[in-house]
């Protein structure tokens, strides 16, 4: 039931998702991954990829152009 915080601010397109997929492999069931990013291309990528992996996620726009993404491993 851990919460892992991943800071991907100012990173270009594939990087946030690659970091996230690495973290998700290490995480156990019930863990929560919080990603902070400001790249809007990453959001679409993450949403599509998470749907494929059949995980649960949601995101919040915390500031103009910055997002936090929550992914839970179920």
């Amino acid at each position: 039931m851990k919460e892992i915080y991943l800071d991907c601010m100012y990173e270009v397109c594939p990087i946030p998702l690659i970091k996230a997929s690495k973290e998700l492999k290490k995480m156990e069931i019930g863990d929560l991954l919080i990603m902070k990013t400001d790249h809007n291309c990453s959001i679409t990528n993450v949403i599509e990829w998470v749907e494929k992996q059949k995980l649960k996620m949601d995101y919040v726009e915390i500031d103009e152009g910055e997002w936090e993404i929550y992914i839970e491993k179920t």
């Binding site: 100012y10 270009v12 397109c13 594939p14 998702l17 690659i18 929560l32 919080i34 400001d38 790249h39 809007n40 291309c41 959001i43 679409t44 990528n45 599509e48 990829w49 749907e51 494929k52 649960k56 996620m57 949601d58 995101y59 919040v60 915390i62 500031d63 103009e64 152009g65 936090e68 929550y70 839970e72 179920t74």
Partner: protein, 233 residues
Amino acid sequence: MSTSRIEELKKRREMERDKHRVDVRRPNTQIKYALILLGILLFLGVLFARRDELYLWIWPIGILLGFSMERSRFCFAASLRNPFTLGTTGLLKAVIVSLMISSVGFFVLQQLSIGGETYLVEELPGMIRPFGIHTVIGGLMFGLGMVVAGGCASGTLMRVGEGFTLQIFVLGGFIMGAVVAGLWHEDFWRNLLFHGGWTVYLPDFVGFYPALFLQLSILGILYILVNQIKLKV
């Protein structure tokens, strides 16, 4: 699509954000800025339109295109890169659909510009140019560059507008490339690489309507293939 824990977190974060905005006295909407921006855009539009009437169409269409691309988070670079790195093909399918729509659009444009019987392929709308080794080299360079830079032309412009600072350097780079290599050194590159190009224009071979049908069919088959692959990987 989310669990109760995620929803809880999201609500908590949203409350934090709204409270922070009240604390620093920043409004939750930006209507004022939107109206000022709209005024500037209209003013610039009128300025451009007085120079050339074409801008009356290009300016609003360009702005609307950029706006819809930014809101839908469209990305040409991601459409080609994702199938290889992530196995997701949603964006690629979207690009194929937009190619089909543009094919129809250009078909209409070319038909209108021909009018009579004979035409020169170079003068048709759509910039049909010979292809050769330079096409392959350019394509490889662009592909490598766009993945490293995090986007191609439209994506970069869109993200600069959104406030993603890294893309400003990318913008500078591609302006430099276009000016230096494309404008100043054009003859040098042309003599070096543009050899024996072959201009392929489908309607020359099969006629206009068959060419359109062929192109749409091939794109349609590609779309179905891409859809099927998505299910397997």
